[in-house]
């Protein structure tokens, strides 16, 4: 595990700065990145060498927590020559969105016909939308949080910054979560501006946390400060959970991550509380296990998922304590499943948590029979039995008569194509019978004719 963090210099255009050195064999000029925010970043440079340039590799990446050193490589298409214009585009739609404020780095690796290899200077740039006039709040606690915004006065920013500091304090006291690195918070003027800055966001998105990059983004209107204060704490908590639990082999289930985030906001808002109580009354709570890997895209269901996660997490913290919660998170970081981590920490697994939590909030026990209840143990997987292909039929006049059977599995939903290989038995027998009767009648007639002819002949003879 290695974490690299470059000092964030907020220029918010295409400010670049160097961190490496160049080998003088090929010359790299006009070396830059052009942003088409938020869809792509195009790296380009003019490369000149005394010998024909035969290979150009763009080495690049973005600063984030990773497992070991990571270098991305791209291969610009070019025609070999002594002067080459190299260009490659990072399509964010293919990779997923980088968060606004992320630091991108790159360098060019060049080989020429003389066997010379050149590595250009490493450059960096900040991935941010320059349509906004970003400002940064400078105050005494920038060691932990740096707040960036572009709409509203300084009072607005200070208000949100205070909410952030209070959230940090709450998490440290109540959940044992601390910031391991400074966190950059980008405040968009509203959710529409926020959505313009990222790709693939859920339809109900209000903010996003990028724990691996210590970045939080939110769309907060000046007229919605109450919501904004809660939201900023919510997203900060995700980053803190990420700092504590970052692991190359381990993960935090969604219900726990979101539960901690909502818990850090304080009490549920009245609407969410009502929705939770309705679900308890109508026995429509979701199972804990089903909240492990992401929430629904359907907003009502997503809201209930958040409220339930809050309720479960609150139950754990307030009944077993903050230290146990920290222990649970650390156990997950060590590469344990959530079942094992819960068992080690509290003495019950997810199913046990389901039972005890439902009992505590007065909900009906999960009523699904054990045979069909989702568990940590997957049911045996049925696999098809495929018959191996055998030697093909031999013979000079062999045609391809029937498909080669290679499988015995079948699916009931396959459209049934009637296959008629022979007439039904009853029809065959009937026809056979009719044929017999017909043959019998013909025989009788023929026999009659013969007998008559014989009688006539006999008569003449006689």
């Amino acid at each position: 595990m290695q974490k690299t963090f470059f000092a964030l210099i907020l220029n918010f255009s295409l400010l670049t700065f160097t961190t490496g050195f160049a080998y003088p064999r090929a010359t790299v000029t006009d070396d830059k990145v052009i942003f088409n925010f938020p869809e792509s970043a195009t790296f380009q440079a003019t490369i000149t060498s005394d010998a024909e340039i035969q290979s150009i590799v763009l080495e690049y990446g973005n600063e984030q927590q990773t497992c070991g050193e990571v270098i991305a490589k791209a291969f610009p298409q070019f025609t070999p020559g002594k002067t080459v214009n190299a260009k490659w585009t990072w399509e964010m739609r293919q990779s997923g969105s980088l968060p606004p404020g992320a630091t991108i780095w790159w360098r060019w690796r060049i080989s020429d016909a003389n066997g010379n290899d050149t590595v250009s200077e490493t450059k960096t740039a900040i991935w941010l939308d320059d349509v906004h006039d970003w400002r940064t709040l400078n105050n005494g606690d920038s060691q932990r949080v740096r707040l960036h915004w572009y709409e509203g006065d300084q009072t607005f920013a200070i208000d949100l910054a205070k909410a952030a500091y209070n959230g940090l304090q709450f998490n440290e006291t109540n959940s044992g979560l601390k910031a391991a690195a400074p966190i950059d918070i980008y405040i968009y003027a509203d959710t529409n501006d926020l959505k313009d800055a990222i790709l693939y966001e859920p339809s109900w998105i209000g903010g996003q946390a990028f724990p691996d990059q210590d970045i939080v983004i939110l769309g907060i209107s000046q007229y919605d400060l109450d919501w904004g204060r809660d939201a900023i704490v919510h997203e900060l908590t995700h980053v803190l959970v990420g700092h504590l639990t970052f692991s190359c082999l381990g993960d935090v289930p969604t219900w726990l991550n979101e539960g901690l985030a909502v818990y850090s906001e304080g009490e549920l808002d009245p609407g969410s509380q009502q929705q939770l109580e309705d679900a308890i009354r109508s026995d429509t709570l979701l199972s804990v296990r089903s909240l492990s890997t992401g929430f629904s895209e359907v907003s009502d269901k997503a809201y209930l998922s958040y409220s339930q996660s809050y309720s479960i997490t609150k139950f754990l913290i307030e009944n077993y304590g903050q230290e146990e919660m920290t222990s649970l998170l650390v156990t997950l970081r060590r590469g344990n499943t959530i079942d094992d981590a819960l068992m080690q920490t509290y003495g019950f697994n997810v199913d046990g948590l389901e039972d005890i939590w439902r009992r505590a909030i007065g909900a009906t026990p999960l009523s699904i029979s054990p045979e069909v209840q989702p568990t940590s143990q997957p049911t045996p997987t049925l696999v098809p039995t495929i018959v191996p292909i055998s030697v093909l039929p031999l013979g000079p006049n062999q045609t391809t008569p029937t498909p080669i059977p290679t499988s015995t599995f079948n699916d009931q939903s396959t459209p049934e194509t009637p296959v008629r290989t022979a007439p039904p038995l009853w029809l065959t027998l009937t026809l056979l019978g009719l044929c017999c009767i017909f043959a019998f009648l013909i025989g009788v007639i023929v026999l009659g004719v013969i007998v008559r002819n014989q009688n006539r002949s006999g008569g003449k003879n006689e």
Binding site: Q64, T191, Y200, A261, P374, L392, S407
Partner: protein, 531 residues
């Protein structure tokens, strides 16, 4: 078919869901297109910026089976069935195939398909200029293909057109699986005039398949229209719309914007109380995940190092933690269900102490003396998938070895791998193109195979695989492939990880859908009922 195609999609999903959202109301975006969506199967997908991935002769995926077709194909039960070829005859020595093309087989522009079109397509695939890395694998049994690929011949000797609708193919030996290989896109038929119409011919292909590609807006959508003149009968679904990079496919399914999706929130949809639970289809895929050791590079030129890396891998923890239990352990190369799969196979066990001991016994003497190790993966930027991260962690924890991850641009990943531009470790994986063990052991590990990206070479294995190719007794043939698998395991030719399972959501109005363990063009078997 390389598993990385699938993994690229998973990578995108993982990146998308790796960020955490906060609820806020917002109306769903509208979706507009000038075709009746109640007559369209709507899917979500991506696209490559590498034209070679859209050319049947050079592609590594099976996406082309909508637009293009070949002489034979698989039906929904994986039976090999006639396709462009209505029937065929096989000589007494099983080395000469005479294919009779359907009289009604036409390209999308109405021109009849002839035997000359087959010869053109296959000779084009084998031309040195095209540098196809699949042609020898899938067409190499035909006499003269290797000679044409190497530039020693200007045509494929083993092909001849008897008349417009009769093609003779001679192969180098009686190989039971020869017809199966013709189901792969390398053997599909292209139209010469179309191919020679310009560099971007693949964006307006004149194929022979059940669907015509009628619109392709870069990074927006691809629209297919049913080929009413399709020689096996017009497909029931009039349109297929693939929205490109339109969002998280599972979320789009939930909001009614796509009709079929892969599932990553498996726990949620396997919960019987989930309303969409009944729309979940599960099954196996004939796939095996593995890490490729480049045996031509230090330190993996030493079998003890390969074994050490294999035995430092905790397969069960990988399945439980990284994949939430939704995979089967892979101890060897053949997936469950494939002929040759050996449930009794003893793979290399997880044994960190023994792994460290093996590293000491290697010619490198231990972790401290190993050269820098680069793990090559397909990816963009600095994101590392959970599987790769877990491997890095296990090797570091159990062997004291740190690796560098190299993310190669996915669009040109295979091109780079094929030219040897990769680290000593590669993210690998293979899904069956056809249900035969030859497609795994021989294609992936025979010396010099185009898909043997680790450069593994073992004369004993080669001899066995070459004998298996022409073994006429099916029982003996399967036994030989099982023996080959044991050699691969004993020699730690690769680190076998898991066999993936399939989880798909399918709308109730999509009828005739079958989750097949091999990627076959199922749309023409499907219909929409009440969309």
């Amino acid at each position: 078919m390389n598993k990385n195609q699938l993994m690229r999609i998973l990578l995108l999903i993982l990146i998308t869901i790796s960020v955490l959202g906060l609820a806020a109301p917002n109306p769903a975006s509208a979706w507009q297109l000038d075709i009746p969506l109640n007559q369209a199967l709507v899917l979500e997908g991506g696209e490559s910026t590498n034209p070679r991935e859209y050319d049947p002769a050079t592609t590594h995926s099976s996406n082309h089976k909508r637009v293009f077709s070949g002489l034979v194909s698989f039906d929904l039960q994986l039976n090999l069935t006639p396709d462009l070829a209505e029937r065929w005859e096989i000589s007494s020595d099983s080395t000469k195939y005479t294919f009779y093309l359907r009289e009604n087989a036409k390209f999308h522009n109405g021109r009849a398909v002839t035997a000359q079109d087959v010869i053109y397509s296959w000779e084009r695939a084998a031309s040195p200029e095209l540098e196809s890395d699949t042609v020898v694998t899938y067409l190499g049994d035909i006499l003269g293909v290797s000679e044409m690929v190497s530039g020693e011949a200007d045509h494929i000797e083993g092909l001849s057109a008897v008349d417009d609708h009769t093609l003779q193919v001679r192969i180098d030996a009686p190989k039971p699986y020869f017809l199966l290989k013709l189901t792969f896109p390398t053997a599909f038929i292209v139209d010469k005039e179309n191919v020679e119409s310009g560099d971007e011919w693949y964006r307006r292909p004149n194929g022979t398949g059940p669907y015509r590609l009628t619109e392709w807006v870069r990074f927006e959508r691809i629209v297919y229209e049913a080929n009413e003149e399709f020689y096996l009968g017009a497909p029931s679904i009039p349109y297929i719309v693939v929205n490109l990079y339109s969002g998280d496919s599972q979320g789009l399914y939930e909001t009614g914007n796509v009709d079929i999706t892969s599932v990553y929130s498996i726990e949620r949809f396997t919960d019987p109380s989930e309303p969409l639970h009944n729309e979940l289809r599960t099954g196996v895929s004939l796939c095996t995940g593995f890490v490729v050791f480049d045996t031509t590079q230090p330190p993996f030129d030493d079998v003890n190092v390969r074994k050490a890396f294999s035995m430092a891998f905790n397969r069960q923890q990988y399945i439980d933690v990284v994949l939430d239990g939704h995979a089967l352990p892979a101890h060897g190369i053949y997936p469950p269900g494939l002929p040759g799969f050996n449930i009794s196979l003893q793979g290399l066990p997880y044994d960190p102490a023994q792994a460290r001991e093996l590293l000491k016994q290697s010619k490198y003497g231990g972790a401290d003396s190993l050269p820098s190790i680069v793990y090559t993966d397909s990816g963009i930027g600095s994101f590392v998938g959970g599987g790769t991260a877990a491997l890095a962690q296990m090797w570091k924890q159990n062997l004291g070895v740190s690796i560098t991850v190299e993310n190669l641009e996915p669009n040109f990943y295979y091109d780079q791998i094929h030219t040897g531009n990769h680290g000593q470790l590669l993210d690998g994986g293979w899904c069956a193109d056809y249900p035969d063990p030859e497609n795994f052991a021989d294609v992936l590990f025979h010396t010099g195979s185009g898909q043997n990206s680790g450069g593994y070479s073992n004369p004993e294995l080669d001899s066995l695989l070459e004998a298996a190719r022409i073994e006429q007794d099916v029982t003996k043939r399967i036994a030989m492939y099982q023996q080959a698998e044991q050699i691969l395991v004993d020699d730690a030719a690769a680190l076998f990880t898991v066999h993936w399972l399939s989880y798909e959501l399918v709308k109730p109005y999509v009828r005739g859908y079958v989750l097949t363990p091999i990627d076959i063009p199922i749309e023409r078997y499907m219909w929409l009922d009440g969309k």
